[in-house]
Symmetry: D2
Subunit: 338 residues, 4 copies
């Protein structure tokens, strides 16, 4: 099998991480070239990982016939346009989430991809997390029976700067969108209605910037199941990522990962580890596995495990949640499509 | 200290249980008399526990000057009237929940009690559960910081007969009312708004009877905190009673109680106990402790730990949840008071 | 079924506890009479529990034809003689452990009991502990397969006064004897050889009194299994009582009991409860259940669940362990019988 | 800092694993060359990892001035001789355990290393395991207080072929030696006396080959602490690797690692993951970290974290355990040195 030649657009934290994952963990692919608007450190990264080509800009990469697939790891506002150009250039695409903050542009990417006949995978890495993937496999295998309730606890260790909300679209779009995708993934069904109860309890500056930092979101799914997500921008004990699927035969519950299994039994009680600190620690394995599956989908010409439609539908849920808070009522997903 | 003389009205499952609890665990009180509309087994129970008096009916008990306090353990539709009579007769009152299905009658009980200057405790036994009481003490001690989210998982092992809904007022009134009280108790604040998303996934007959069996309920509290409850009438693994309070300093999480701590490590995994089966097993200790505290409140002339207002306010939340499902929108508690 | 009439000799901590257990939890028996060398509080206890007779001394109880069975809860040095007298008087006997510190006197009790045709149960209450009983049932049901290793962790929260060793016979005889019985019980086989490595690390005064406070004891069983016990007189976190049986099909592991299931997740980690403090908290349920089974064995004329032979054989193991420390070599149980 | 040039002798399972670890995880070192008595697959491995040199034999590697350090991953019987040659050639040495099955040859390696002034690290990888390293750090930091008991559970998922015992020296030398090193490491003290109770319960062929498969080993340490190890060659549930250090302030307990945190709550109980299957899964992280620390020790000219003396002293304990079984009595380590 010929090694897949990959080009990476954007060599920031997540771009470098993917470059290393592919180099060290995906023998059937290699990072052929890389580009970034910032040139600092690019040559060093290329040298360390044996990346042959550094492109002046992403257009040069698009023009390179040797490149089979691109990873779009640039800033969010460029995701859709670059993805469309990549599709036109006949490159398979891995696009970090969100594809865009507007459904229209995500739709445009989906259409360009369809027209070009290339693969598109969206960076919903948590689908590949060892714990959640096991829960999903139990759902798929029928072990849980009919799904009745999907329940997600998702709390960050600390909030981003308040001004970040303006760029990111707010908590539902930059943070909860992962949970919306996870809920859809686990329920095996699309969301039809959203009710979000949200407030600002962590940092008043977030509220002043027009965003929320604490929320309970209720979902209804096409298959009749219910979903619930609770979010906070700040958990004193770190990154809280738990999931539960409850169904007619029982419930699968995924607890947090920890650094060690050590418990200390002392006068003050039995003390064990906090959850792994944040997404780089908690989800490192999933970042690697999403690359493996992306490359496999191309090699085997199968559907990618997180498609453009997943990106679009999760975005619609996030926008519906935002609208629900604004209007103080449940919002139908069908309202978001008009 | 003089032993408190208690009369028990209704010698069914819960009435007998309280009779035994008091006899064996509350030295500062004694069950002086008992009555029930059904006479079967009454004499045997009295003999076993050394109860001196069997009254022909509850009115005879009311007239007995020796009786200091009564436990109202009769059928729900009689709770309010009997409680009002008891208040008029100057007896302290422990009334099983719900006091009544209508706020008006609960209000009438509260007024009768106030006028008579007697104590009233409502049977929200879960407040006395060892796990939940510890979580509450952590909230009160400030260990959790400001409360942001109260989260309750409450699932029964199997549903009551579908026709029971008509009598009980439905799931929110016969089952979730305990969770509403618990949410209020843990938040240390009153509910202002309720949104309930509910459906029928366990047994179609329940739906045909006009009730629901699966629900996610979102609460807003006066102090700004959010609450979420998830309910099911049937968990394949038994009685699921978990609670979590998340705040600015961390989270207190109460897991299920089990019969043993034994885990079997074998080829198929590590297998440990299911939760204790149902409320009689899970909450036995709380039934005992609510009696101890009721008797203490009378002896020490302090406020009871679950008052008539607790009964009323939890009922209003339950009715609001029902209305929310009917209208498909969040409902303010203030709407219920008009 | 006629209620069994029980007489209790010794109304100290354990005697009163049994008196209450029987009164409240064993409907098929009643405490008819009680006696103690100390008269203080005896009348009050009798009044509280409705005990009809207070005997001047235990001989008076022996002479009472109404008494069917006696509980020997007096001081250890009187256990054997009183038990022998009780057997001669035709009373069934529940004797607190140890029956005696010498095998000869235990043997004499066994013979008196056999001759009289009465029942004898020795107070190895831990056999009735919910966790350990479940492990035993898994062994018996063959779930664990052939037993290879029995492993017991047994640590007290704090040591007795150093001078207690002289009376008690030392740690192996007053504390580890429970573990020896448990090991025999779980292995379903008799010990053939003991090696004890023991030292004084908790309190030098214990060493000066000629005793040890920390030990690892290795056992060999007739059926080929191995056993290991680790002991300490002082665990900073309380009473540590864990058990594991490992066999050809897997392992059953019993963890400590705790007061609640609450975990607090905070900046310093996840903190959960210490074990229940000491034997009265940890083993309360077992003290009750050993009474139920004692009474049942008499009513049904079956073997008691902890016999005189259990008392004798566990004592021989304890004495062998003591000898092993003294000689610095493994000791055969057969050496103890010569 | 100049990259350290490493040569690997033996490209079997563990040699290849180290080659990958260094290439992917140790930027301050590179695998310059490799050699193996079997030539199959060697070129492919070198190509995959970018290893420049393939030596005809290890002597050629010794002669290569560019090589700074060697990993001795060849068969056990060659470890000592190759290590001595490497020392003479001025190469730093990482030697897989055991260095040799005889104390004399291990001593010879230690002396050669000392004379040459090179570093020697022995492959006691478990010292670097995340769980055990944390327990060790708690001991070192004084959190546990004075160490009283070190307790190790170490059970393999399945036994090696019975004939392997002849080559390996038997269970104590091929399996328990890791536990002996761990006990020494955690106690922070040398073993002075060993008593081993061992038998053959897993596979009679092992017994016929003169080895044991099930054992309880008791240790005494210079600092007064006691140690206990229980071993089995076959745990039905996989690889059981637990550790506990109990001291005057409490106990640190390391449980097994699992693949996921998922628990399924169903009618048959709550089922969670078995331990990670075997040493490659369980200890992968430790194999990587021992390389990082080996390279660091050379770069910083500090002592290696597992020295030749560790290899020697752990071997002496293993030989003493073997002798203890043979003689049926405790054996002093001082007896092994005569």
């Amino acid at each position: 099998m010929k090694q897949l030649n990959i080009g990476i657009i954007g060599a920031g934290r997540i771009g470098s991480l993917h470059a290393k994952s592919i180099t060290y963990n995906v023998p059937s692919a290699k990072v052929l070239g890389i580009t970034d608007v910032k040139k600092t450190g690019l040559a060093e990264l290329a040298a360390e990982l044996g990346i042959e080509k550094i492109y002046a800009d992403y257009k040069e990469m698009m023009a390179d016939k040797e490149i089979d697939a691109v990873l779009v790891c640039s800033s969010t506002d460029t995701h859709a346009d670059i993805s469309i150009e990549a599709a036109k250039a006949g490159k398979h695409i891995f696009c970090e989430k969100p594809v865009d903050l507007t459904p229209e542009k995500v739709q445009a990417v989906i259409e360009a991809v369809k027209k070009a006949g290339v693969k598109l995978q969206v960076g919903f890495n948590r689908r590949f997390d060892h714990n959640f993937a096991k829960v999903k496999s139990m759902v798929t295998a029928g072990k849980i029976g009919d799904v009745h309730i999907v329940k997600i606890t998702s709390r960050d260790p600390s909030p981003p700067p308040a001004e970040y909300s303006a760029v990111s679209g707010g908590m539902f779009l930059d943070m909860t969108i992962h949970d919306f995708d996870m809920a859809r993934f686990l329920a095996g069904s699309e969301v039809t209605e959203v009710y979000a109860s949200a407030t600002c309890l962590v940092d008043p500056a977030i509220g002043e910037a027009g965003d929320v930092d604490t929320a309970i979101i209720t979902l209804k799914f096409e298959n009749g199941a219910l979903g619930v997500i609770d979010n906070s921008r700040r958990a004193a004990y770190g990154y809280d990522q738990r999931i539960e699927v409850f169904g007619s035969n029982g419930a699968a519950v995924a607890s947090n990962d920890t650094d060690t299994t050590v418990a200390f039994m002392g006068e003050d009680g039995v003390v064990s580890d906090k959850p792994l600190y944040f997404f780089l620690e908690r989800y490192m394995q999933s970042f690697r596995d999403e690359m493996i599956q992306f490359v496999d989908a191309i090699h085997n010409d199968t559907s990618t495990p997180a498609t453009g439609e997943d990106g679009l539908n999760s975005l619609l849920v996030a926008l519906a949640a935002k609208k629900s808070v604004a209007l103080g009522r449940p919002v139908l997903i069908s309202e978001m499509k008009q």
